[in-house]
Amino acid sequence: MMIDRSVKRPRNSANLDETRLRQQAIGVKLRQMFDEVVNEPVPDEFLDILRRADDRETGNG
């Protein structure tokens, strides 16, 4: 039986394009999900712990 490549190939490459498109879209959303948190204001506690660490080290000098 002959394999008709002229028909099969375009369909495969169309599938590849579609997959690539979907992967790109997922990538965009992944970055968006991550950046959403990156762009949140940092809670004060974070700077407080560094300040406390500072006091701990320099306060006894």
Binding site: R22, I26, R31, L50, D54, N60
Partner: protein
């Protein structure tokens, strides 16, 4: 640096270190959020990481990649805290639902929740590899360093994660409410399209 200099305050190096560390806090919070089931636990983890990094600052070579270094500390901290489930390959549905509830922000687009649920269904090592490379902006080599594995391993984890995530989103198997399959993928495509045209 001598004790006298230390007791008088921080050295210039300490100041430079702290400035760079503070700038990384938003990224550490974001990475922690992808590992932990809820935002409060994630912030605890990120705070522990900041403190550990500060305490270990003498061991850091200034000028090298502090982002990768702190991410490695965060990851080690996370897995040492929950060694029990570290080899767990799949989060159960209950954990996935907890993750969804934890990020249940009315402002957050529904599609992001679906993406999070899909991510929660991936094996942990695939999920973290995809997040580091696909969202955190790390090169494969850096991600390999953070995850303490070979570069080829990271590449294959990322590639398997991408395929699995796409399949999950297309099949709609994460849905609990009977919404039509592949709805999530369609929304993601439309959303990404809209974002790319805005830029």
């Amino acid at each position: 640096m001598g004790a006298a200099e230390r007791s008088a305050g921080h050295t210039e190096r300490d100041k430079a270190f702290q400035k760079e560390l503070v700038a990384l806090i938003p990224h550490l919070r974001a990475f922690a959020r992808t590992l932990c089931g809820n935002a409060a636990a994630a912030d605890d983890l990120a705070q522990d990481t900041v403190l550990k990094a500060w305490d270990a600052r003498e061991t850091f070579a200034m000028g090298t990649n502090m982002k990768a270094w702190t991410f490695m500390i965060l990851r080690n901290q996370f897995y040492s805290e929950k060694r029990r489930s570290w080899r767990q390959t799949q989060l159960d549905q209950e954990a996935a639902e907890r993750t969804l509830v934890a990020v249940d922000d009315p402002e957050s687009p529904v599609v992001l929740d679906e993406l999070r649920l899909g991510l929660a269904m991936l094996p942990a090592e695939q999920r973290e590899a995809l997040i580091l490379v696909g969202a955190g902006g790390f090169a494969y080599e850096e991600a390999a360093e953070i995850c303490d594995c070979a570069v080829g391993t990271v590449k294959s984890r990322v590639s398997r994660a991408r395929r699995a995530l796409q399949a999950i989103l297309e099949s709609g198997q994460y849905r609990r409410d009977g919404a039509s399959a592949s709805q999530a993928m369609a929304t993601i495509l439309a959303d990404a399209e809209r974002l790319s045209t805005v830029k």
